[in-house]
């Protein structure tokens, strides 16, 4: 089963995203900040990462920059998933290495759509 890593400091968001990703055929792992997400990625690099922006300890932007520096760091499809919906944030996320971007609030249809765009669904 493909693996996804959900990185968000909100437990509720992690639960919702995990359920959606499980229903789409992914085994979800969770991390509450960027540093814990990096530790998880070092152990097992995910196929997809869904990343919040504003988190304590290490935010989403810093996480993605560090993720891409890891061995096999180019492998995961990274989707930012954040309430930030201004163009400048989207551009910064893409420049940092994100492949797609979801503006909260979101639903399963949006997640499915983004994964389809990335070719991440069978």
């Amino acid at each position: 089963m493909k693996r996804c890593l959900i990185v968000d400091d909100s437990r509720i968001i992690r639960r919702v995203a995990a359920k959606i990703m499980f229903e789409l055929g992914f085994e979800p792992d969770e991390a509450e900040n960027g540093r814990k997400a990096l530790e998880a990625a070092r152990v097992r690099m995910p196929d997809v990462a869904i990343v919040d922006w504003d988190m304590p300890v290490m935010d989403g932007l810093a996480f993605v920059v560090e993720l891409r520096r890891l061995p096999e760091g180019g492998k995961p499809r990274v989707i930012f998933c954040t309430a930030e919906n201004e163009v400048q944030f989207i551009e910064r996320a893409l420049a940092a290495g994100a492949d797609e971007y979801i503006m909260k609030p979101f639903d399963s249809e949006i997640v499915r759509s983004k994964l389809t765009i990335l070719g991440a669904l069978d």
């Binding site: 919906n85 201004e86 163009v87 989207i90 551009e91 893409l94 797609e100 971007y101 979801i102 503006m103 979101f106 639903d107 249809e109 949006i110 759509s113 983004k114 389809t116 765009i117």
Partner: protein, 284 residues
């Protein structure tokens, strides 16, 4: 809802739009009509149907409008759009090189996402279509949907379904929490209120027609009539896209299948020898 009220509404919808309302769609009637009940300050659907029976003409139009299915999205089901991009568009450019013009019809365009998806594909061809007249016409029975399509303003939810984020940045401008299609794309498509039960002849001829997720709402007789009209409005080498898994076999002789699974059909012109459809995979 009382059965005779349901039947009254079903008859009204069929007469005005050709759309068929079956008995299992009672929930749909309530979902779609309750907002209208509230805005018009009726006591309930029964009360509103009584007003309809009394012959309020503007109310009949509003009810039909409210019942129109509006589910659409950018690059919906994406594979037919990929087929258009990789097969039909190159064929169009080759086949229409002398005229440097082609026309696309989106029948049942709703709020315009399908038409703008095609406009984005055309825009991506850049210089290859410089100086071409590539016209996209979107038609829908719903005046409200057509007005929304022409405005090109979409919610944050709408622009995240089917649209890559780079496409959003390239082709839309943010307005508060909504997103408006860029002017150069908005002007590539024209939208009209039109009933598929009416003659399509005044709209002219089209090289490509999309009529996706519309036909299942019609009965067989109406489906046949609409497909016949669409067939007559197409060029001899034209391509029709219907919804995924909408087989036309036994419904219309105006088309021959190219890919039934993806809903792709070619205009059927048996009297024209060696006709190369725009849906034919380019050689090489």
């Amino acid at each position: 809802m009382q059965p005779d009220d349901f039947e009254f509404l079903a008859r009204l919808l069929k007469e005005r739009s050709g759309l068929v309302l079956t008995k299992d769609k009672g929930y749909l009637v309530e979902n779609r009509l309750m907002p209208l009940v509230r805005t018009r300050r009726h006591r309930g659907i029964v009360d509103m149907v009584a007003a309809l029976r009394a012959g309020e003409p503007a109310l009949a139009e509003a009810v039909v409008e409210a019942m129109m299915a509006k589910d659409t999205g950018f690059f919906r089901d994406w594979k037919p759009f990929e087929h258009f991009r990789s097969v039909v568009l190159p064929n169009l450019i080759a086949a229409r090189r002398a005229r440097r013009a082609f026309r696309i019809l989106c029948a049942g365009v709703s709020t315009g996402q399908e038409a703008y998806s095609l406009a984005m594909i055309l825009a991506a061809r850049g210089d290859a279509l410089e100086g071409w007249q590539a016209e996209i016409v979107g038609i829908d029975l719903s005046a409200a949907a057509v007005a929304a399509a022409a405005a090109g303003l979409y919610s944050q939810f709408d622009v995240q379904r089917g649209l890559p984020i780079r496409g959003l940045l390239a082709h839309f401008r943010k307005e508060d929490d909504s997103w408006r299609i860029a002017e150069d794309l908005r002007t590539r498509a024209a939208f009209k209120t039109w009933n598929l039960l009416d003659d399509l002849f005044p709209l002219g001829r089209f090289d490509v027609v999309l009529c996706r997720n519309v036909l299942p709402y019609f009965d067989m007789q109406t489906k046949f009539a609409v497909l016949q009209k669409l067939g007559r409005s197409m060029t001899d080498d034209g391509v029709l896209y219907v919804g995924l898994q909408e087989p036309l076999a036994g419904v219309s002789a105006s088309f021959q299948p190219v890919d039934v699974r993806l809903g792709i059909y070619a205009a059927h012109r048996p009297d024209i020898a060696r006709l190369r459809s725009l849906a034919a995979v380019p050689a090489g």
